[in-house]
């Protein structure tokens, strides 16, 4: 996979991906959006790229038409480099639950231009996953969500897993896991502007 400095992308892409820009969360914390991305040439390529033994890149970048049009219908696509860390975590989770883990549409990387969450969503960092099914179990009730939440949270102190519920910050039809606002700079890339 070829890493790209988002600041060197064309204007149209920069407007959608907002590489390195600051974004304030609802609670007042400020985070910098990812700057470095992998460039993906086609869906076939995304399906072939195995980020972990049981997770392809395609699974972590499936979005619906709420995504910015340019990022939806044309290639190349760009995904934050930190997505490799998410895939490794999901692989650990899969090993622990000993069953296939299914990521929902819009449940992996979503660009800051996506109409769900936009730049404030941690999905714009490529470090969050919404799991809607583990094995044959659909995660749509308190029992299943809390069961897998406990397992996911036990795997790393960096992992945040939303509790079951119907209030803001809770989930009732999937398991939300994230690793925080992690950005990854590939070793050959420079952070100088």
């Amino acid at each position: 996979m070829r890493p790209i400095d988002g600041l060197r992308l064309g204007e149209e892409y920069r407007a959608l991906l907002r590489p390195g820009e600051s974004e304030a969360a609802a609670n007042g914390t400020v985070h910098r959006l990812p700057r470095f991305f992998y460039e993906i040439g086609s869906w076939e390529e995304a399906h072939e790229i195995r980020l972990a033994p049981h997770f392809t890149l395609a699974e972590l970048m499936l979005v619906d038409c709420r995504e910015g049009r340019l990022l939806l219908s044309q290639f190349p696509h760009y995904v934050p480099c930190a997505i490799v860390l998410l895939a490794r975590f999901l692989e650990d989770f899969r090993r622990e639950v000993d069953a296939p883990v299914f990521i929902s549409a819009n449940g992996g990387y979503r660009s800051p231009a996506h109409r769900i969450g936009g730049p404030k969503s941690i999905h714009a960092w490529g470090t969050a996953a919404n799991i809607y099914r583990v094995g044959d179990t659909f995660l749509c009730d308190a029992r299943s969500i809390e069961k897998y939440r406990t397992i996911a949270a036990s795997l790393s102190p960096a992992a945040f897993v939303r509790p079951f519920g119907r209030e803001r910050g809770q989930t009732d039809d999937h398991l939300h896991i994230d690793l925080g606002f992690v950005s990854l700079t590939p070793r050959d890339c420079s952070e100088a502007s």
């Binding site: 499936l62 619906d64 709420r66 659909f138």
Partner: protein
């Protein structure tokens, strides 16, 4: 003179049918594109729209496509999780009441908007309806109805929104309104390509025990049924190879658990056919 005779005869026959089949109310609207004949019996009475409201959502989907707001080949996240019209509480639609189990198998993944539109009409999928309406927005769909000059159809919420129902917030329609809706589809409100596609979807309706059941086998019907505990409707465009089509909206209301509701709508459909063509549909079966 002829149309006055037809109108009087049909009026009388439909009222007799309603009485005989213990319908609490019926509303019928008709426009024959061959002769220009129009007929309305209690056409301004409001009924619970039931699934006929899905035709309004279909119109909004294709209008949005014509306006470039969406592409029919685009994908939507399939998620059984919706917000109630009043208060925004969450609800889910029931798979048991949906004739499209294949759509439920895609929960978590995506489905094309064109496939959702097809499932909403042909299989009367509540899940597909709410996904499309959630994406478009109720306000947008209402704007489309206004722009199409369709009054008599009040789209207020998604389907299976029980919380809204308990508060009296329902989708309602009159027979005249639904006739206008079908006329808008058949007219030039949509682009020719969208119009063709909407009619093609309506022609692929899987539930054919009402309007089509009262017609000869060579008739084809682009239609949508709607049934809840007290309402039983069918609205459609009837195509006959020997003539221009006619548009009919047949709405009925019964006490819950009354039998023979669909048969009543089929009998009304048959009476309309007989009045317009002055022939018995059964006589042209061979």
């Amino acid at each position: 003179m002829l149309s006055v005779d037809v109108s009087n005869g049909l009026h009388e026959e439909l009222e007799t049918l309603a009485l005989r089949n213990k319908a609490r109310a019926i509303g019928v609207a008709l426009h024959d594109l061959e002769t220009g004949f129009r007929f309305s019996l209690c056409g301004d009475r409001w009924f619970h729209a039931a699934s006929t409201i899905k035709v309004a959502v279909l119109l909004a989907v294709f209008r949005a496509a014509d306006e470039g707001r969406l592409r029919l080949a685009d994908s939507l996240h399939v998620r059984n999780r919706f917000f109630s019209a009043p208060g925004g509480s969450l609800f889910r639609v029931s798979q048991d009441r949906d004739a499209t189990p294949e759509l439920y198998a895609t929960i978590g993944r995506t489905a094309k908007i064109s496939a959702l539109a097809h499932a909403m009409i042909c299989g009367s999928s509540n899940l597909a309806t709410n996904l499309l309406l959630d994406f478009l927005g109720v306000e947008y769909a209402r704007t489309v109805l206004r722009e199409a000059q369709v009054d008599g159809v009040e789209l207020r919420r998604g389907v299976e929104d029980h919380s809204a129902h308990e508060q009296g917030i329902n989708n309602e329609a009159t027979a005249d309104g639904l006739l206008k809706l079908l006329s808008a589809i058949r007219g030039d409100f949509l682009t020719p390509e969208s119009k063709r596609e909407v009619i093609r979807v309506l022609l692929e309706q899987r539930f054919n025990s009402m309007i089509p059941a009262g017609l000869p086998p060579h008739a084809t019907v682009a239609h949508k049924t709607g049934e809840i505990s007290t309402a039983c409707h069918d609205i459609g465009i009837v195509y006959l190879p020997e003539r221009e089509p006619y548009i009919a909206a047949i709405l009925t209301e019964f006490d819950p658990d009354t039998e023979g509701r669909r048969e009543t709508v089929a009998a009304i459909s048959e009476a309309i056919y007989r009045s317009l063509l002055r022939t018995d549909p059964k006589s042209s079966e061979d």
